[in-house]
């Protein structure tokens, strides 16, 4: 699995986001067991304490649960996962629109820029 950690924000927040993403996109399916804290930390090249912190917050949010000594598991509440996925999508759209409007682009300009850049994205195959 790929972990993309940058230096411009706290690592533990990036871990939260990326684990959340793996859950929402099905890389970690509902009910499945996650690798151990130590293994995940090794994968992501971070300290186990940092990974533990991210996992603890995801557990508090309800996306994960723990069986004390057998490991951590993804929630089986698929409705919750869908809800998180939609919330993230909405957040991304809102933040994106805010930035573009602040820059001075109007709705039609935004739409055309996006569709233009989508074409270019599709080229890479």
């Amino acid at each position: 699995m790929h972990w993309d950690i940058k230096t411009d924000r706290p690592i533990y927040t990036q871990l939260i986001e990326q684990i959340q993403l793996k859950i929402c996109s099905g890389v970690y399916p509902p009910g499945s067991r996650l690798p151990s804290v130590r293994d995940l930390a090794r994968e992501a090249s971070v300290n186990p304490n940092t990974m533990q912190r991210a996992l603890a917050e995801l557990e508090e949010a309800g996306l994960l649960y723990t069986h004390r000594t057998s490991g951590r598991f993804v929630t089986e509440d698929t409705d919750m996962i869908k809800h998180v996925k939609n919330s993230l999508a909405e957040k991304h759209v809102q933040e994106f629109l805010k930035k573009m409007i602040e820059l001075g682009f109007d709705s039609s300009e935004i739409m055309s820029i996006i569709s233009e850049m989508m074409k270019r994205e599709g080229d890479e195959t």
Copy 2:
């Protein structure tokens, strides 16, 4: 002027982004004089050192220049400003599309979500 500083990222990077935005959107027009470091720091409720750091980086990037004791000014190079504006827009679109695709949305879904949320944005007048 509004300054929106959060705690999840270094303050000086947020200052850079927001000053850059004010330049690109015309709040600080080409050739105009900026408030003094101390005044800007007071406006944004940050330490003068932190504001100074942000301004120094924008100066290194060429968006600002300094007359040693009379103040800082926005570049008169309007082409450069346009270029920065377009680069920012491209970056925002790419980051946005990346996030949405990672979440599992395809092109047509993305377009419809955006146009749907644009309607709702337009309501607030």
